[in-house]
Symmetry: C2
Subunit: 330 residues, 2 copies
């Protein structure tokens, strides 16, 4: 029963945000972004959305071009730690219960013992082996059930909220506000596409077909009299940095009118640059994690994202200053 | 001016079909598929759509799962000859005007002289070289302008209609009927995704983000102070046979509730099988080109598609018997 109530609550947040923004869309006295503090960033968002949706205005953009793309980890929900990494560990611990010999076998041993040194030395091949072991070898339906169970029953290690509640409330409002103005909202994340699709509708109101992410190769196989797509365990597409624009083009054929990512690894610079190269108006935003008290404070070693934002005129969202609240239940 | 009027006419057909079906959706006495002859196939389509959209009925399927996928060449428009092949030749002839030395150079020489023997002997590498030469090396915007011009000014070599009119009228009605019943209609074709996206909204009412096809590799490059996606000329994804389900999963994450292809090469068997593996109801259709008088009559050498249809219970659409008319203007 807990499963259901936590996800129902998440859905309630999405619906409430949608209702608020639906009212706001028809009544300018209703604030469409109540969890955003008044200031330059909030004003710029509302000004932009108003200008591209004002018919006969100089910046009007027809609805079919209103594509908005969002990174997920660190932009729509918390990434300390990365939730899909938590899922990997959750699966690994279940696998070890079935087969204790994994404790002695690399790279499982290193992952279970949090041996960062080993994992960093082994790099991508070790990570891919961990992903293949925990994310492949089952049907799509089994995988979805596991992710749902994990999200619904897990809690964040330090924030004292369930995993269904580590979404950012201001972002839920922003997504609903954009959709109320006929934007199509997409996720474009380095996270696994199948992992995110299990929860994207419930957490964000974003349907599976509007989720782009990293993916494993799949093959059509005939299993027990039925054609199924089996995950091979081999990486197909790592959706980060310069590959994000490639994936957005593949999925939508359209440059984003609105793109938003976050500071951490420079992973969203490509997506925001690509959006900005659009003919006509466009808006780019970058979330800066500067709120140690309510969430976390972390920066990039080389400061590349903030430097790019400064050079390109992207809006930087300070979680500390721009967000009146961060999580739906805190 | 001709460009505009032909495409406007195509759009008018799409809009008219949408209006008819919108009326039909609310008034059961209006026929949603007037270009389909009464018979088993038409009845089965209407019965299926009614049953999956009847709330509280035993076969009700919620709107978010109403994904419908269509092959393009031979299913939505004429494929004798393949229109994108005509575009390739159109581009090649323009290139030869600029650089006559191409006439002596393979594989251009063979293509220009319709030397099927050479092209078949050289196979895929020669085809890819022709595609790279005619479909790469320009910006997205230039490519789109070329395709628009080609479709708007070209005529079919034998059918005496413009290329904007080689769409199948019964299929335009079917797409509109499904959309009026909250289906999302997708193209899933072996044709080039960027080629189809230029015309999919005008011809079929299908937006670019609902078009899947074959694609070339692209790279983010900084050109003249702007970030652009450049086509490398290298094949990324050939969207045929078993790869169609893989691409549908990548784009939508959902098994199609409705899937439709055609007899010619067995290219749609994978997509229809994948749709049929859906939990719960689903419908699969296969267009059979058996109308030599009004279009063309052609079959598969090994009859694989019709055999699969018989073994699996897919509906076979006879163009001769099931379609009251074929093209919008004939």
């Amino acid at each position: 029963m807990r499963t259901r109530s936590v996800l129902t609550l998440a859905l309630a947040v999405v619906i409430t945000a949608s209702l608020i923004t639906a009212c706001a869309a028809s009544d300018p006295s209703v604030d469409p972004l109540p969890s955003w503090n008044d200031g330059e960033v909030k004003q710029a968002i509302i000004h932009f959305v108003t200008s591209v949706t004002t018919k006969d205005g100089p910046d009007f953009v027809p609805p079919e071009q209103r594509i908005a793309t969002f990174d997920n980890d660190g932009t729509l929900w918390c990434e300390q730690p990365v939730i899909q990494g938590m899922f990997l560990m959750y699966k690994l611990e279940r696998m070890v219960k079935e087969d204790p010999s994994l404790r002695a076998k690399q790279p499982f041993k290193a992952a279970l013992e949090h041996d960062q040194e080993y994992l960093q030395a082994e790099g991508m091949p070790a990570m891919l082996e961990l992903f293949a072991a925990t994310h492949a070898g089952m049907s799509q339906e089994e995988f979805e059930a596991e992710v749902e169970e994990f999200i619904a029953t897990g809690t964040h290690p330090t924030l004292d909220v369930s995993l269904g509640q580590v979404v950012y409330k201001p972002m839920i409002e922003l997504l609903a506000y954009l959709r109320a103005n006929d934007f199509k909202t997409y996720i474009c994340s380095g996270g696994g596409v199948d992992f995110m699709r299990v929860v994207s509708t419930t957490l964000y109101g974003i349907p599976p077909e509007q989720v782009m992410g990293s993916s494993m190769k799949k093959e059509l196989r005939h299993v027990d009299g039925r054609w199924v797509l089996a995950r091979t365990g081999e990486l197909d597409f790592y959706n980060d940095k310069e590959m994000k624009p490639v994936n957005i083009d593949l999925h939508t054929g359209t440059r984003p009118l609105f793109a938003m990512g976050n500071v951490r690894s420079g992973g969203d610079i490509g997506m925001l640059s690509y959006s900005q190269g659009r003919d006509g108006p466009s808006l780019q935003l970058l979330v800066n994690h500067d709120d140690e008290e309510r969430e976390f404070a972390y920066a990039e070693p080389d400061n590349a994202s903030l430097n790019a934002a400064k050079a390109s005129g992207w809006l930087v969202v300070s979680m500390q200053n721009d967000w009146e609240s961060i999580f739906p239940l805190r």
